[in-house]
């Protein structure tokens, strides 16, 4: 299960400070939800469900959006791997 590899300080507005590297990021509310859940250790398929519930989107769209964000996090070395949940 991919987890966040760095220690991140996050505020309610989506501003993120990586205390390991000093880098800063801004995410929108859905990004904030995903990253907060990743830090809590929530599995990706559960995060997809949360996105569907909160934003009323299909599982297909939530999975695609999560996959996109995970790949960005991978490029930023904030996660070690991307394990995209398989669509039913």
């Amino acid at each position: 299960m991919p987890g966040i590899t760095h220690v991140l300080e996050i505020d309610d507005e989506g501003f993120i400070f990586d205390r390991d590297t000093g880098h800063t990021y801004n995410v929108n509310t859905s990004g904030l939800l995903v990253i907060s859940e990743l830090i809590s250790g929530t599995p990706l398929h559960k995060i997809v469900e949360l996105l569907c519930q909160k934003y009323g989107v299909s599982k297909k769209i939530a999975t695609a959006d999560l996959d996109d964000l995970m790949r960005q996090l991978l490029r930023l070395e904030l996660v070690e791997s991307v394990e995209v949940p398989v669509l039913d």
């Binding site: 205390r19 590297t21 000093g22």
Partner: protein, 357 residues
């Protein structure tokens, strides 16, 4: 409450600042120190000289390379204005001060600096050898004395290349022509030799450490530079906690057998994520003020150690504390410039006592 008089140098506060003002602010704002701060300058153009809210008195000193002349000047100041601790904050002062330390001690002035032998290891010309001997990653570098050597050096190190002075000054050159221009500029200001260093692409990080006389690290704070001036100086930064960086910093400090304040400058190579040691400064960095706001007042602690106090090591600091420099005009009568040039000293004591009363 610590009561003592502290003299410190490094008063320049331009876009290539020295750490003196930052150090003094750490004392003034600590609430744990009471006393006088004496500013020591080598040139009347050091801008911090004119800041009466920081300094009680300011004195001009002679060239620090003239050891006995420097000692006699400090001895003269000591007779008027008893100094308990002298904090040298300029790299080139450390050439002569280790030899003067016992004599300064005899007249009642304490310092917290390493021995001359330990100091020699940090020199920019010797840093690559130190790193090689101790398995620490550092950029490849060559020392040159003739501009004719620039072409061959670039063939070896590639472009861009960093051109550095042996004491201070550093520029990134993108061509042999640019490197030659920087060679002459740095030679004129800081003399020969010139160091040409491999350019490592990545973010820059610094760690400032404080080591007591038993070579125990008492405090360490790491910072990522967020913005640089065109001279490559950090204009903004944020405290971070990277265990790998801190462990590497402590390893270097211990291998150097350092005593006193020290700044380690690193670049984190973008492609590998490895830290490369760029430079060691035998003093706190110019950004040291933030250490006091992050929970480790390293300047105040350095004064306490210099006075002979035993202090417990800090165990943590706040991350995410950011500093942002800004320029400010100091306004004073031009007679102050005349006073410092002609008499070599400037006193704010009367002015400050009026303000307090």
């Amino acid at each position: 409450m610590i009561k003592c008089t502290v003299a410190l140098s490094g008063l320049n506060a331009t876009d290539d600042p020295a750490p003196g003002i930052a150090f003094a602010r750490c004392l003034r704002e600590s609430g744990e120190w009471e006393g006088r701060i004496i500013g020591l300058a080598y040139d009347a153009s050091e801008t911090g000289i004119y800041n009466g809210s920081i300094f009680d008195d300011v004195y001009l000193l002679p060239d620090p390379l003239q050891g006995s002349v420097l000692f006699n000047r400090i001895k003269g100041i000591q007779s008027k204005n008893h100094i308990d601790v002298f904090v040298p904050l300029l790299d080139y002062e450390l050439v002569s001060l280790p030899a003067l330390e016992p004599y300064l001690k005899d007249i009642g002035i304490s310092m917290l600096i390493p021995t001359a032998a330990i100091l020699r290891q940090h020199l920019k010309t010797r840093l690559a050898d130190f790193c090689k001997r101790n398995g620490i990653k550092s950029p490849r570098q060559t020392t040159i004395v003739w501009p004719d050597s620039i072409g061959n050096t670039i063939a070896e190190l590639g472009l861009p290349v960093v051109v550095k002075g042996v004491i201070h000054g550093s520029c990134v050159a993108h061509s042999a022509y640019e490197a030659a221009v920087y060679f002459h500029q740095i030679k004129q200001r800081w003399g020969l030799p010139i160091i040409m260093q491999e350019y490592i692409s990545g973010d820059e990080y610094n760690t400032d450490c404080l080591v007591d006389r038993d070579r125990k690290v008492i405090g360490a704070v790491s910072m990522k530079k967020l913005a640089l001036t065109d001279k490559g100086k950090g204009w903004s930064g944020v405290t971070i906690y990277d265990k790998g960086l801190l462990d590497l910093s402590l390893e270097i400090v211990q291998k150097l057998q350092w005593v006193g304040p020290i700044e380690l400058e690193f670049v984190k190579q973008s492609i590998s994520g490895n830290y490369y040691l760029l430079e060691i400064n035998p003093r706190f960095g110019t950004w040291i003020y933030i250490s006091s706001k992050a929970g480790q007042n390293l300047p105040l602690t350095a004064v306490r150690i210099a006075l002979g106090e035993r202090v417990e090591p800090f165990t943590s600091y706040d991350t995410g504390m950011m500093f942002m420099r800004y320029s400010l005009d100091l306004v004073c009568p031009v007679s102050r410039l005349g006073e410092i040039i002609t008499s070599g000293e400037l006193s704010f004591t009367e002015e400050n006592s009026k303000r307090t009363n």
